[in-house]
Amino acid sequence: MTGLAGLSTPITMGIFLGGLYVLIALGLSLVFGVMKLINVAHGDWVIVGSYFAYTAMTMLGIDPFLSLVMGIPLLFGIGFAVQRFLLNRAFAVSLDAALLVCFGISIIFQNFCQIIWTPFSRGLKPPYALESFSIGAVHVPLVYLLDFIAALVVMLFLREFLRRTYLGKAITAASQDRRAAQLMGINTGRVYAFAFAIAMAVAAIAGVLLGLTFPFTPTSGVSFLILAFGVVIIGGLGSMMGTFIGGVILGLAQTLGGYFLGAAAQMLVAYILVFVVLAVRPQGIFGR
């Protein structure tokens, strides 16, 4: 379909696909909001999540969503350990040192994935991965809907966790004033570790959805990191609502760009949009 009448499909697809970008960017936004650290390995953590789900599928026949029962604790635990024992020490030196450590982790993860799973592109292909469905005139791949639902569920969980639990409030407090948080009896080292671990647990979920939506290789982390940057630039770093809006806008930019200008142009439109936001309102829509 061409013309404005056919817009409903790319718009719906864009919003749903945006859910995946929200999921990928959430972990990045959380870590930055709490620790002021740009985790340049974030995309690679997500891809590790994708590969874990891939292995669970191909070797054990486990559905990707089911494999999260193992994948989430795994990435949570590794994330906790990395922050507690590695990044914590780097922070004591300087923020740049922590950034470099993240960069090192990125290289290690990429090569680790390359060695184990080879550079060939992989995908998560359970039976429902190829299904699509229609609402009236709109025709959407099922996984895109799953992306969107997953984003909403995770965002809701995260928001309630931060609002209602002591640990959640402690994470929020520590991100607003670290010194005051320490003086309130909060073990900020441990709280930071939990925040990072939670961000990596979200990355595990994002990895599953990513693997269902797109093919991936050991170096895909970089492209999705750039997309995640785009999301937080548009939406504003550290704001969950901003991350959501940013993700949806980016998804829309991609699908509408592809619709009007062809598939080759879709990422171009998305990136140009990021540039425009950087030029006009660099702190993003909800940024402070």
Binding site: R179, A180, Q182, L183, M184, G185
Partner: protein, 239 residues
């Protein structure tokens, strides 16, 4: 009447990097007292409070609380042991509500079970906080933020409260309310060590005082005695 020595600081040296901020400082606070720590900017008062709170550690000497050596303890553990600092500039969590600020005050293990009674107590002490409980902390006035900071500190169920420059930027009327609250807090059995630049006011509100200059304690004693001290009169009262 013998009183328990709650906090005992013995001959500590404290460094900021390679810069020595405290020289051979000794200080004691007895249970139930209100003690003032007076001095100009840069005299080391805040450094001393930060060292008690565990944000800094003495290079020499020791700090004892309730008889236990706490010189090397982490900040969050110091709170659990019963010492809470209300920091300079209040430092309430700006994007959190008044209620959440108070709740997070009871984060440490020992304070959690006492959250409800402590919350009631804080609301009675500072009714304005109850009124504004759903407002974001950053929307409060300076005086209200100071009450919130104090209330938040009390939520951690302390035996000893360290108050850093409570009066900064506040009007005398607001200060009167705050000092009245301090007396009520003392009446509840909580000991107070407060840091102040305003000598007159401090000597009025405290039982004993330490005067610091350039990282050393230069004078100490009961406030009545101190007011008569020639040096104090000259330096601070222009006599």
């Amino acid at each position: 009447m013998p009183q328990e020595t709650l906090l005992k600081i013995s001959n500590i040296d404290v460094f900021h990097g390679s810069f020595q901020a405290l020289w051979d400082v000794s200080l004691a606070v007895r249970a139930g007292e209100i003690v003032a720590l007076i001095g100009a900017n840069g005299s080391g008062k805040s450094t001393l409070l930060d060292t008690i709170s565990g944000l800094l550690h003495p290079a020499k000497g020791k700090i004892e609380f309730e008889g236990k050596d706490i010189s090397a303890v982490d900040p969050f553990q110091v709170v659990e042991l019963g010492i809470t600092q209300v920091p300079e500039g209040r430092r309430v969590f700006p994007e959190m509500t008044v209620l959440d600020n108070l709740i997070i005050g009871s984060y440490n293990r020992k304070a959690r079970s006492k959250r409800e009674p402590n919350f009631k107590m804080v609301c009675e002490l500072f009714p304005i906080l109850k009124e504004r409980k759903n407002q974001l902390a950053k929307t409060l006035s300076g005086g209200e933020q100071q009450m919130l900071a104090l209330g938040r500190g009390l939520m951690s169920d302390p035996r000893l409260v360290l108050l850093d420059e409570m009066s900064l930027g506040l009007a005398p009327i607001v200060l009167n309310d705050l000092y009245k609250a301090l007396r009520e807090i003392r009446a509840m059995g909580i000991t107070i060590l407060f840091v102040e630049q305003n000598v007159r006011r401090s000597l009025r509100e405290a039982d004993r005082a330490y005067i610091m200059e350039a990282g050393r304690v230069v004078l100490s004693g009961d406030v009545a005695e101190l007011r008569e001290e020639e040096e104090v009169k000259k330096a601070y009262f222009g006599v």
